[in-house]
């Protein structure tokens, strides 16, 4: 099907994921029938993955600017100003479908791809995070997928020498046939050394650098734009193979070249490889590009033009240089033992022209691939949000439930995962995995970047709008809880089939809810991607709009962590606990119900509470803070105790009917803080003055008669921290090792 003069049949068009109307539009744009190479190019550029045809209309509703935003969506990654001439470059991207088909390579190349997006802008990657969602643990494939994905992420990130400092791992049956791998990379660059992808000018050399092109990954973007079926595993050849060693060389070579002023534009070859990089660069530069495929470094013999244009071989970049600087650039890439080839030049024709063996094999207007790509306002239905207050058994012993919750797949320690990632390389990881947000020191300074990935998919299922707001609010809280100011977000919008009105309703409401929260919290979205068609045999995933937040910590010496620091500290809860059990982990794990309204998010309160807590940390008055989220208050207290080895005694004199909702409800906008008792009064007074609800929950430092640290309270029989720790630590390793 890849011979140059293959006849274009309706079957062939369908196999390329294009419908009749789309094909007619291609004929109209070209004024003739496309040939097979052109059909392939349109197929990837007009795929959901590359064109955002179902979401572009709605994505415009997201706020993307702020005084500190240097680059919003539309480039390889977003950029924010972090002061002193430094900028932070970051993005998150999904690699869901490949990671289900081939977990190790799919996850590894997901990490590699997002790192290239960051260093192609001139930034050195300084941190990685990963948000992972797997099917239920009892599903026969889950263990194999967890094992492969984690190993793949580790193998790539560890070799690159970029610390993997955070992320999340959750399980739910809707991901049984469609796991999610969302990889985020954060890099640092100088404000006057940022590189963009606009291939401006005419007659400038277009150079190909990095690995050779092979047959791997052909049609990856098209695969990522279709739902899964039983044959999906036969698509393994469309998953790319990663080589982190080459990527490390490519990183160093690119940064070395970027130290000169030889580059006009540069972009990585990610999804849709040579096709999307050349078309997008010409489009942004308002120019044209002519490339000669005979000059492309090739790993295999007899590659066709079709295969070369659609290959997703990894570790490749396309750059436009200033004329006459080719030799200088070539020297650098040869030093790093990488391929370097001038494969074409920019033109003023606004056309993408591809030659192979002396023949023109593709010739089309650049805008046909970008602006003219289909844009759909798909019909959608807004489902009524789940509502009501579910019933629960008020007689269940609270401490027994806590022990059970700490050992559930979603709340257990993820140590088994992050110990496979090098999180200390680069010597700046000042807050390591296990806290609310990871913190990486800005090299050579006393400032830090705080980072976190967040979303609570069960809330998004119950109420897509409120759930998406909550994802943004929780990110804001996690960044705040270490003392940092949240600055901007990247997003990975994982949803199911946009052609189904109910699923499209989840997308629209999710985006709108996210936008509302971003606006209220001055927390714009600067980069990201959409991953749709996450459904298998008709069953969609929980809506999962993951957000990756970045904040700036002014002084790492005043960073807060979740671990208790001293005995006899007062434990305070900032924010009101109403006892919202709907859609809580408690309800699901203990009562076996996924019911009720998800907790409402009050964005005004989020901002107010965040400002209050951050102010105390920045003033040096608070060093122990934990966001209250999944599992509620008692789980959060237990996590603080476990992180420190210091126990706690709680003043839990509640009515029986209120006890369980108070301990396990997931009301939003709350922080747990601990500080010396004599300083607590001032904080309580300040909170009262600001109109912020605060409750004195107890004290740190409880020990048993044997001297063992314990967690206890009224109605809470003392349990040793080691017992809690076993419950918390054992589930994942014993699941994975059996």
């Amino acid at each position: 099907m890849t011979a140059p003069h293959t006849a274009i049949t309706p079957e062939l068009v369908r196999e390329h994921g294009l419908n009749e109307a789309e094909y007619a539009r291609i004929q109209e744009l070209l004024g003739r029938d496309p040939n097979i190479v052109e059909l392939g190019i349109f197929s990837v550029m007009w795929s959901e993955h590359c064109s955002y045809k179902s979401t572009r209309f709605h994505l415009k509703k997201l706020p993307t600017s702020a005084p500190w935003v240097i680059q919003g969506p539309g480039e390889n990654a977003g950029i924010i100003d972090v002061g002193d001439g430094d900028v932070c470059v970051f993005k998150m991207e999904s690699h869901n479908h490949p990671s289900f088909i081939a977990p190790f390579q799919g996850a590894a190349t997901g990490v590699g791809g997002i790192m290239r997006d960051v260093f192609t802008m001139g930034a050195r990657p300084v941190a990685s995070l990963n948000a992972l969602r797997f099917g239920e643990p009892s599903h026969p494939k889950t263990k194999h997928l967890v094992s492969g994905v984690v190993e793949g992420i580790g193998s790539y990130g560890n070799c690159m020498g970029v610390p993997t400092v955070g992320g999340e791992v959750n399980f739910h049956s809707t991901y049984n046939g469609n796991n999610l791998v969302n990889a985020m990379c954060v890099g640092m660059a100088k404000a006057d050394k940022i590189f963009y992808s606009a291939a401006r000018g005419s007659g400038n050399p277009v150079v190909y650098v990095g690995s050779k092109t092979g047959r791997d990954g052909i049609h990856g973007a098209t695969m990522a734009s279709a739902e899964f079926n039983e044959d999906s595993e036969e698509k393994r050849p469309t998953v790319q193979v990663g080589d982190p060693f080459t990527e490390k060389l490519l990183l160093e070579a690119c940064l070395e070249l970027m130290a000169t002023d030889a580059i006009i534009a540069i972009q990585d070859m990610g999804a849709a490889g040579l096709t999307s990089s050349s078309a997008e660069m010409a489009d942004k530069g308002d120019s044209g590009i002519e490339i000669d495929l005979d000059k492309v470094p090739q790993r295999e013999t007899n590659l066709t033009a079709y295969e070369m244009m659609l290959s997703e071989s990894q570790e490749r970049m396309l750059a436009v240089l200033k004329p006459g600087r080719e030799a200088e650039a070539e020297r650098i890439f040869k030093k790093w033992e990488l391929d370097f080839s001038v494969i074409g030049f920019t033109t003023d024709t606004h056309r993408l022209v591809v030659k192979h063996k002396g023949e023109i094999v593709a010739d089309m207007p650049v805008t046909a691939l970008s602006d003219a790509a289909p844009l759909y306002e798909r019909p959608y239905i807004t489902r009524a949000p789940a509502s009501g207050t579910p019933e629960f058994d008020a007689t269940r012993p609270v401490m027994t439930s806590l022990l059970k919750l700490l050992g559930t797949p979603d709340l257990c320690s993820k140590r088994w995962v992050w110990e496979q990632y090098d999180y200390t390389v680069m010597g700046d990881s000042v807050q390591q995995p296990g806290g609310d947000a990871a913190v990486v020191r800005i090299h050579g300074t006393q400032k830090g970047l705080a980072m976190s990935t967040d979303v609570t998919p069960r809330y998004c299922k119950a109420d897509p709008r409120e759930g998406a707001k909550q994802a943004v609010a929780e990110s804001y809280r996690n960044i705040t809880a270490v003392g940092a100011t949240p600055l901007a977000l990247t997003d990975c919008l994982n949803f199911s089939n946009p052609e189904k009105p109910e699923a499209m309703g989840e997308i629209v409401n999710g985006i709108e809810g996210m936008g509302e929260a971003c606006r209220a919290l001055d927390y714009p979205i600067v980069s990201g991607n959409c991953s749709l068609y996450n459904e298998t045999q008709g069953e969609g995933i929980l809506p999962t709009p993951t957000v990756g937040g970045v904040g700036l910590l002014k002084n790492i010496a005043r960073m807060a962590t979740i671990a208790f620091k001293r005995d006899n500290d007062a434990i305070l809860v900032i924010g009101e606990t109403k006892g919202h059990l709907g859609q809580s982990v408690y309800l699901r794990e203990i009562e076996g119900k996924e019911e009720g309204a998800c907790p409402p998010v009050d964005l005004k309160l989020e901002k107010k509470h965040g400002k209050f807590v951050r102010g105390l940390i920045e003033a040096g008055k608070l060093d122990t803070v934990h966001d209250v989220s999944d599992g509620g208050l008692l789980v959060a207290v237990a996590e603080m105790a476990l992180a420190s080895g210091i126990g706690a005694v709680l003043r839990t004199n509640y009515d029986p009917a209120d006890f369980i909702p108070t301990m396990f409800g997931e009301d939003q906008g709350r922080y747990l803080v601990a500080l010396p008792e004599k300083k607590a009064d001032a904080v309580i007074t300040a909170a009262a003055k600001a109109g912020i609800y605060v409750r004195h929950l107890g004290f740190t430092g409880a020990v048993s008669e044997m001297g063992e640290p314990v967690l206890q309270g009224v109605g809470l029989p003392a349990v040793g921290l080691e017992t809690l720790r076993s419950a918390h630590e054992n589930w994942l390793p014993s699941y994975m090792n059996n």
């Binding site: 110990e419 090098d422 390389v425 390591q432």
Partner: protein, 222 residues
Amino acid sequence: MKAAVVVFPASNCDRDAAVALEQITGHKPQMVWHADSEVPEVDLIVLPGGFSYGDYLRCGAMAGQSHVMRAVKEKAEQGVRVLGICNGFQVLTETHMLPGVLMRNAALKFVCKPVGLTVTETQSVFTRHYKAGQRVEFPVAHGEGNYVADTETLDRLEGEGRVVFKYAPGENPNGSERDIAGILNDKRNVLGLMPHPERVCDPLLGGTDGKAMFESLLEALS
């Protein structure tokens, strides 16, 4: 003390080593590229952690064949101190500058975590600032740190006081024989170890137990 850090393709702890050296000695070390066939006149050569040449073939195997390693070997024979950390230790065994081999971790997984170590030998330029039997904590971050050698070699290493660090009882992260974490060559001027002392020279990064190694070297070589 003058120091050099060798940079192989895909070394990735070269900067970390340089930062720690500069912090403790007050001088930036010289960075030496793998293709160079000469090593400058220095008192200490550091082979840093990372994945030299992608760790393809075997960890450290291709780096062992590099131009620069011939020069490093010559320097070591002349008595220059050589410190191989993690991948650097693997390179040292591949070049037979240290005995034994580093196999895949017993659990077959990469492992990154702080690990307790016992300083078992303080009669060396690398460890004189530690106390004999002192417990220290360094992070490990490796997939192939499982030290293996024949019984005779292991007996000799222990008998000659060349096992410098052992994993603390119950904390062996990789299955190394006799809990060996770091060893000296017979002339005692070459040390290889899997844990990372350069990552614990800053209190913000989880401890300063690694400083004493660089301070030992500074005192001995200044």
